[in-house]
């Protein structure tokens, strides 16, 4: 028999050790339960979200951009559907034999076949659609449809292209679309409470955005809101079923104030010459005509160009992309004279009976420097009205001589010089209304009296865009009550930005109009040859921008051998008088004569706007 005490002590020892292990594991189990509690209760929301993100995949659905209309409700830019052949790769195993089968019906290029082969494996794995061919022709569609029963995995689906129905005449006004960068996309998506993810495209060229013109300025309105489709997916990313669809909201349509007919007229009149035409409806400042020439096809830009085509476009010496209407800087030349005349009247420096003797030049008293007019021998004894009609330089040299530059600048800025006068133009240049500080900073020279004298005839440092000249024209037409310009008809925004120059009385305005009518109607007017081109009265002021200063006509004949040295032709006009509706500005680079070269373009545009 074994000793009872020994047996009891062994049992006690065993009991202690077993209990020790149980307590040890008991503590570990409590820790496990604590960890489980942490996962399931304390951090539940984190893991709940992680689980949800695991099992769902969201796709953005691209909205369609708004349609852009002209002022008569005619479509300018539309989304044109094209038909694509699309495969559901889940049911496909042998892509090569499928390609062979398709080629019997629809031609596939080598690059198309390569794209298909490149995309097939991943699309199949992820159960996503595979585009086999874009832009099917009606014939190809018909050929496929009759045999579609042979291809249960294939379907024809619509993808859109953004198409400008008038690809050349609206290139600078409406602009074009292009691809969106990752950063821009992210910014847009964040603004719509979305995150970047895979997308179901509505456009065959993917994410697009307005790059220039109205497409850019109104991009936010046009682009619409992305929709979202949520699928349940498994661990390998395979789509199992659709959970939810939030449809996209297509972009808002834009009803512009542009007029297709007058655009066409302006475009054809410019006839690929370098220049610009801007015309506005003066009661609300709506831009109806906006052409920069020469132009390019926005559809080609938007939907893909070869490298060579692109290089040809950007290297073209006429700078096709350059928007001359809003960014071209031209001296206003003689077109500025009515504004200078109004300054003289406002400041009571002159009245309508005031005359000077014009010998054909002005001598600056300070240094005897001579400023010439365009007419040899001068215009004789001349008052303000005749000085406008005949475009006497001497009259305005001597008037400008009496002005203070700061006063004159303030006066001219009312007319739109040196500032942005458009609410929705794409990157408008503000031209240059020079000041003594500007000259000191830029040229490191002080302001001379001669600089002010030159400004009196719109030469020298001052310059303006055709858009600003159109504003100036409309400002004269409305006698100083004018809205800022806009491309969009917006009846709600009809109050006028009035900064009427109180000191100019209505009689003076009327006489200015009368003088400008005389530019065409008076036998001595500089634009007399426009008279037979219309059957209503038009007020105008022509200008000729000297690019190279010459003493005599003979000298000019020498420099005009080089086309780029010829004078620019400018005209501003408004009509029909006495109650003008439209104002227009025309600039033709190296066109030489404002009256006879730019003038007919302006009249043709006014005709197309007024005669209907």
């Amino acid at each position: 028999m074994i000793n009872l005490n020994q047996r009891l002590s062994e049992k006690k020892n065993f009991f202690n050790r077993l209990l020790f292990v149980y307590i040890f594991f008991g503590i570990l189990f409590l820790y496990l339960i604590y960890k489980t509690f942490t996962l399931q209760v304390s951090s539940y929301s984190d893991y709940e979200l992680a689980s949800l993100e695991n099992k769902t995949r969201e796709f953005l659905i691209q909205p369609r951009r708004g349609i852009i209309y002209d002022r008569n409700g005619e479509i300018i830019v539309n989304n044109i559907p094209s038909y694509n052949l699309i495969a559901n790769p889940a049911g496909l195993d042998d892509i090569d034999s499928l390609i062979l089968d398709i080629q019997k019906i629809i031609e596939l290029s080598d690059s198309e076949i390569k794209t298909i082969n490149d995309n097939f494996p991943s699309k199949k794995r992820l159960n996503r659609e595979l585009i086999l061919k874009k832009d099917l022709t009606p014939k190809e569609i018909a050929q496929f449809e009759v045999r579609s029963y042979k291809f249960p995995e294939l379907q024809i689906a619509v993808r859109y292209s953004r198409v400008n129905l008038f690809p050349y005449i609206f290139s600078h006004s409406i602009g074009y679309i292009g691809n969106l960068s990752e950063e821009e996309l992210e910014e847009i998506l964040i603004s719509q409470n979305q995150r970047p993810k895979e997308s179901i495209f509505s456009y065959s060229n993917g994410f697009i955005t307005g790059k220039t013109g109205i497409e850019n300025v109104y991009d936010k309105k046009l682009r619409g809101k992305f929709g979202k489709k949520t699928y349940e997916v498994n661990a390998s990313g395979r789509i199992l079923k659709e959970i939810e669809t939030i449809p996209p909201i297509n972009g808002e349509d834009i009803f512009t104030s542009l007029d297709i007919k007058s655009q066409n007229v302006a475009f054809n009149q410019l006839d690929s010459r370098r220049g610009a035409v801007v015309a506005v409806k003066i009661d609300d400042g709506a831009i109806v005509t906006y052409v920069s020439s020469p132009s390019f096809s926005v559809n080609k830009i938007a939907n893909g160009l070869s490298k060579k085509e692109f290089n040809d476009l950007i290297l073209n010496e006429d700078k096709l992309f350059f928007d001359r209407a809003a960014q071209g800087r031209y001296s206003p030349a003689s077109t500025i004279k009515p504004a200078i005349g109004l300054y003289g009247l406002k400041k009571k420096l002159i009245d309508w009976n005031f005359t000077i003797k014009d010998p054909g030049f002005f001598v600056l008293p300070e240094d005897g420097r001579i400023y010439r007019g365009w007419k040899k021998g001068g215009h004789g004894e001349i008052n303000l009205q005749d000085a406008i009609i005949e475009s006497s330089n001497t009259f305005f040299f001597s008037l400008a001589y009496q002005t203070e530059i700061e006063d004159l600048r303030e006066h001219l800025s009312y007319f739109g010089f040196g500032k942005n006068i458009c609410k929705d133009c794409f990157m408008p240049d503000i031209g240059l209304l020079p000041s003594p500080e500007w000259k000191m900073n830029t040229h490191n020279f002080g302001w001379y009296k001669g600089d002010t004298v030159n400004m009196g005839v719109g030469q020298g440092y001052i310059n303006a865009t055709p858009l600003q000249l159109a504003y100036y024209s409309a400002f004269l037409a409305t006698k100083g009550r004018l809205n800022n310009f806009s491309f969009v008809q917006d009846s709600k925004d009809h109050k006028k930005d009035t900064f009427i120059s109180e000191n100019i009385n209505l009689n003076d305005w009327a006489k200015i109009h009368e003088s400008m009518v005389g530019v065409i109607e008076n036998p001595r007017g500089t634009a007399g040859r426009l008279r037979p081109l219309k059957d209503y009265i038009v007020a105008a002021k022509s200008g000729t921008v000297e690019l190279v200063s010459t003493e005599t006509k003979e000298d000019y004949q020498i420099i005009r051998e080089i086309e780029g040295q010829r004078d620019h032709a400018i005209i501003i006009a408004f009509g029909p008088m006495p109650n003008p509706e439209y104002a227009v500005s025309v600039v033709i680079e190296n066109g030489e004569s404002g009256g006879s070269v730019a003038g007919p373009v302006a009249i043709a545009v006014l005709n197309s706007l007024i005669k209907e």
């Binding site: 065993f14 594991f25 820790y31 496990l32 960890k35 209760v41 539940y44 893991y47 695991n54 099992k55």
Partner: protein, 366 residues
């Protein structure tokens, strides 16, 4: 009637507490497995057959007197070692591991057998030795343990070899291994860790340990299993997503849902409440084993019940720690719940032995 009951009680060896709780656990396991296998009826029926067979086996194993196990323990150990050797030579190779013997009707994982026969043999070996265990016996026992552990480890089957090691050491510990010896061994083990790291661990095992330390370092690579398991458990919340509603399990995010990671499925679908109920049943079984061990009739029974119940406890603990992300991923099933043949049956056999040890009484206890 009463007479019949009395006869049954005297002739039939049966512990209703363990039998009911294990049956309950097995039925719950089938319910869980049906969901974890994504409604695979074939898998579930096959498992049902194993469960029924296992319960019968448990009942049958509990009938012989403990002396039968004690007297034949060496024979059982030698048989299971022969099976291990056969596995090394003729074993069926799956994923680079030779762990199975193909018997035609059944593929036997031989390490699951030696997992039981080793502790039983050690308990029998120590039955008549003077306790606390002396140095010579310790040395003999440790040599045997490490030989067998290494045979299993080279299959390779790290998980089972760890469990066998633990089971063997439990017996020695319960037999009164001196604390000083334990302290010195532990010190040596810690010192040899760098050696083990460099020489005994496969690269993928090292990666698993590194992944455990920072699962976010590679969430789609080696950290995938732990990350997805945590998401499954965490997203279950208090009440769970509902039976067969676990997206982590049903959309293939969770790996090995039928075996190693079945606890994650349970936690996802039944939440913290379900986890607590499951653990409560495990806990009840363990407490019952503790009670039986303390009341066992002799040293052999005590050591065997203690060793086998701790084997069961360690398996549960390793499995749970793994799916919660406390220890590296090692292949380890959740007893009575995970899909399996050999591993499942081995637990029914263990509990059959435990019941046998607990129910056969002697008038005079040793």
């Amino acid at each position: 009637m009463n007479k019949l009951k009395l006869i049954i009680r005297n002739k039939i060896y049966f512990d209703q507490y363990l039998f009911i709780s294990i049956t309950l656990l097995s039925i719950m396991g089938l319910v869980f497995l049906y969901s974890a296998s994504q409604g695979n009826i074939e898998t579930t029926i096959k498992q049902s057959v194993f469960v029924i067979f296992g319960l019968v086996l448990m009942f049958l194993v509990s009938q012989p007197d403990p002396d039968f196990f004690k007297n034949n323990s060496l024979f059982f150990l030698i048989c299971s070692m022969i099976l291990i050797f056969l596995t090394l030579i003729f074993g069926k190779e799956v994923n680079g591991a030779k762990r199975w013997l193909d018997l035609g009707f059944f593929t036997l994982q031989t390490s699951e057998i030696i997992k039981i026969t080793l502790p039983v043999f050690l308990a029998a070996y120590l039955y008549d030795k003077s306790l606390p265990i002396n140095l010579l016996n310790t040395f003999v026992a440790l040599t045997l343990i490490f030989t067998i552990v290494n045979l299993v480890r080279i299959q390779p089957d790290l998980g089972t070899s760890i469990v066998i090691l633990i089971a063997g050491l439990y017996i020695l510990f319960l037999a009164g291994l001196s604390w000083r010896f334990i302290g010195v061994s532990f010190g040596l083990f810690v010192l040899s860790l760098p050696l083990i790291w460099n020489n005994f661990l496969e690269p993928f095992q090292r990666q698993r340990i590194l992944t455990l330390l920072d699962p976010t370092s590679d969430p789609y690579g080696s950290g995938w299993n732990i990350t997805q398991s945590k998401i499954a458990i965490g997203s279950g919340g208090i009440q769970g997503k509902g039976y067969q509603m676990g997206s982590q399990a049903h959309l293939d995010f969770l790996p090995e849902t039928e075996t190693d990671f079945i606890f994650s499925v349970i936690a996802e679908e039944f939440g913290f409440i379900g986890v607590c109920i499951l653990l409560a049943i495990f806990f009840f079984i363990l407490l019952r084993c503790l009670y039986l061990a303390l009341n066992a009739r002799d040293r052999f029974c005590r050591l065997t019940i203690g060793g086998l119940s701790l084997l069961f406890l360690s398996t549960i603990f390793i499995n749970l720690s793994m799916v919660i992300g406390i220890i590296p991923v090692v292949g380890m099933p959740l007893p009575f719940i995970s899909k399996g043949g050999s591993s499942l049956l081995s637990f029914y056999i263990s509990f059959g032995i435990i019941i046998s040890m607990a129910t056969h009484k002697k008038l005079i206890q040793r």
